[in-house]
Amino acid sequence: MDIKEFELPNGMKVIMSKRSELPIMSMNMTFYVGSKDEEENKTGIAHLLEHLMFEGSPNTGKGEFDEILNNNGGDSNAYTSWDMTGYYLVLPSTKLELGLWLDSDRLTGFGISEESFKVQQSVVLEEKLQTQDNVPYGSLEEESSGRLFKTSGYRWPVIGFKDNIENLKLSDAEDFFNRFYKPNNAVLSIVGDIDYSETEKLVTKYYGGIERGEKIPRKKFTDGYLIKENSSTIISDVQLPGKFMFYLIPKIGSREYYEMQILNKIFTAGESSKLYNEMVYNSQMANEAESMIYGMEHISIFFVNLIARKGVKVEELEMKFDDILERIKNGNISDEEIQKAKNKLETGYFAKFSSSVFLSEKLSEYKTLFGNYESLINEINMYESINRNNIINISNKYLNKNQRVNLSYLPKE
């Protein structure tokens, strides 16, 4: 990997990676702020502000950001998570300076009108309807977060609560912007057909004059692991019953987090995996059976998603799942299964490097969370020393019944 990095005097960190096969470049600007940094009565502001950042800045009017970008063969998008907000844009590599001009202008001041705010507030409310409220099992994030977390900003969904979103004001967005959108709270990654010294010069030209912000006070993370099972049944407009388990596991980047990645692959990677093989293929109890990990800064989530076949009860899914888990905890797992999981992770590792948009996002994300991008490149070595005993231990340590949120979705009637 060909990578160089530098830091501006105002604290903005910059990572560059040269790839010259195609005359394109991707920029990713990630701010170290997410939904967990919101106030409890203003949930949704991090994500709404993400929408607003495309709506105008001191030198670009409403709609101009995307118009200029599209008109130059470029595209953009953004995402908000619990911990971070990332903006990307892609352009032909000859137009790097235009991208830097567009992106940096957003940092020079708040340029959003009341009108843009109102429109994006409605757009976000529609987004919530489209991606959650109108989707089967779509309330899972909202139902689970408050049960998993009691005091931290992880206890509300990233998109926020409807009531809060409706009551947000333009001034809330401006306050949030002024607190967090500072060069010393940002990582910029640029991947593509670029020249390092020219790029450093241009980045310095457009971002170097932006003033450093004050040190941002961070709330102490106060949530811990669950000690009592939290179960609930939700009656919903779904055809097939669903069983969903959430366990808290160690934070992203820790040794135990990587151990959980291996265990997760054993549960879910391919049709020979435990969940598919036993629940979908052999017993045919489930129509879908899979697990995934949400990696988060302070504590992560291991999520198990089981959709029943018609006629199968959620209690049966739960018993079967508990039985699979129990066998792993009792040591019923082979070295071959561990190796299989490692092989899956090895193939998946390379996918991170296939597209420049994705690579620039990952470089920014790792730098933001871990303070270095090398952990992205070296991640694959983390798995080598993990063995069967580690997997048995970790399952006994974190995947107990009293440590989970256990949700059932049942069809109406």
Binding site: D105, P136, R309, N343
Partner: protein, 460 residues
């Protein structure tokens, strides 16, 4: 480095150079004596190799087995990975997974896929297994039953999804005769009756060397890839390829509105449009430019109107589905129940406007800049390149299509846009399919046309 920040003029965008030209990457092609078309794309950036097998059959051919055979092509393709005479489904999954690889099978209207991605070091052995899956699938009764249950349950859960419901209402009423009206996965009643013999019959009729395209992409030399393919496929006996039935063209003569009840809907899922045309149509380039301007990118007229001006939706877009023998045009959006009529009215007004008035020079320039400037991004991964090459063969497109893409987009004129919007958009003869709260839809949409309520959508 000294920079004079105070004198940095941010008020105007910096002047930047035109984008550099990009050439479509070189690839190797060959044809085996039994008719198999072969492509190889070398790319050693990552130690991965993929193979894609594409068979020129799909849902379109369901109808060759009668009106009640919807879902047969899809079921057949799903079963490809479920074992051969030598190796059962569990053994296949085990060996693929153990090597960290992945396989998948599936179908669309005009094509069926089987693909494998693996680390370079394991590729040859796994290629052998996947080749066998393609040529000698077992289709065991037990696996057929298992898969049927899986599909029937998936079809049930589709009823929870507004986009599925709206699409069924749309396709069924846009295409009256052609198999493009069918749901790819079929319907519960049809899937339920399929047996091994139906699947075997479909397989024998359509899975033929003359219908097969093999593309290998990744960290491999083309000579090695070709020998590998020949060692497995040279012996597959040639058989003449079955001629596809061509169905009568469907056409609409007035706007029709269809409403489908989605339980607990908090939004309407809207799909509206009409017939389009096949992929080989000579107006392809002006149509792509016209559609991009209308609803094909973020700053398009439809998205700007519905999202950025009115805040009615998270997004709205339009597209042409270019199929092998026909096609359709649609506009898609999701809006809160009470906004359904307003949103549809805005969409129709955008269709009327582009059909009846010239677009501006600036709009057309922006579209050209967007399409030509973002084109290289589509060539970033070997898999994306492979799909493009496969499409040339699948749809019988001219060989120089990708090399001339940029110049042909740049050649589109205001007059061309005017002609194709006039010729291919029919805002007076739309199928408007809406999944949501039927009561609300009926109340407001009657202003546009009589509302037909569709029931038993799972059987459409």
């Amino acid at each position: 480095m000294s920079v004079d920040y105070a004198n940095l003029d941010r008020s105007k965008p910096p002047v930047v150079m035109k984008s550099k030209d990009v050439k479509f990457p070189a690839y190797f092609e060959d044809k085996l004596h039994n008719g198999i078309k072969v492509f190889v794309i070398e790319d050693d950036k990552l130690p991965l190799i993929s193979v894609k097998f594409v068979i020129k059959t799909g849902t379109y051919d369901d109808l060759a087995f009668g009106e009640d055979s919807s879902g047969l092509a899809s079921l057949t393709s799903d079963l490809l990975v479920k074992g051969t005479d030598k190796m059962n489904a569990v053994e296949v999954a085990e060996i693929i997974d153990f090597h960290g690889a992945s396989i998948s099978g599936g179908c669309e209207y005009d094509a069926t896929y089987l693909s494998l991605t693996s680390l370079k070091k394991y590729f040859t052995g796994l290629f052998d297994i996947v080749s066998d899956l393609l040529m000698n699938p077992a289709f065991l009764d037990e696996e057929v039953e298992r898969e049927k249950q899986q599909i029937a349950n998936s079809l049930l859960s589709c009823l929870d999804e507004g986009s599925f419901l709206a699409e069924r209402g749309f396709k069924k009423n846009v295409y009256e005769n052609s198999p493009y009206k069918l749901n790819i996965e079929g319907k519960i009643s049809s899937v339920n009756i399929f047996q091994r013999k139906n699947i075997k019959e479909f397989f024998d009729k359509f899975y033929l060397p003359g219908n097969l395209i093999i593309a290998i992409v990744g960290d491999i030399k083309s000579s090695d890839a070709i020998s590998l393919i020949k060692s497995k496929f040279d012996g597959w006996k040639k058989k003449s390829v079955y001629d596809r039935t061509i169905y009568k063209k469907d056409s609409l003569t007035k706007t029709k509105v269809f409403a489908i009840e989605k339980k607990g809907a908090v939004q309407s899922e809207v799909l509206l449009g009409h017939l389009g045309f096949d992929r080989k149509n000579p107006d392809y380039f002006p149509v792509v430019a016209m559609n991009t301007l209308l609803g094909g990118y973020f700053t398009s007229r439809i998205n700007k109107n519905l999202r950025e001006i009115n805040g009615y939706t998270y997004g709205a877009r339009s597209y042409f589905n270019f199929r092998k023998h026909s096609g359709d045009f649609c506009v898609e959006t999701s809006v809160e129940n009470s906004l359904t009529y307003n949103a549809i009215k805005e969409i129709i007004s955008e269709l009327d406007k582009i059909k009846n008035e010239y677009v501006t020079v600036e709009e057309l320039e922006s579209v050209k800049n967007y399409l030509t400037g973002s084109y290289p991004l589509q060539l970033e991964t070997p898999n994306a390149i492979a799909n493009k090459i496969i499409n040339l063969e699948l749809y019988g497109i001219e060989k120089d299509f990708y090399d001339t893409f940029i110049s042909k987009i740049n050649a589109v004129t205001l007059e061309d846009i005017r002609n194709v919007s006039e010729k291919y958009l029919h805002p007076g003869n739309l199928v408007i399919s809406i999944a949501g709260k039927v009561e609300i839809i009926k109340e407001t949409m009657e202003q546009i046309a009589q509302v037909d309520v569709l029931n038993n959508i799972e059987e459409l």
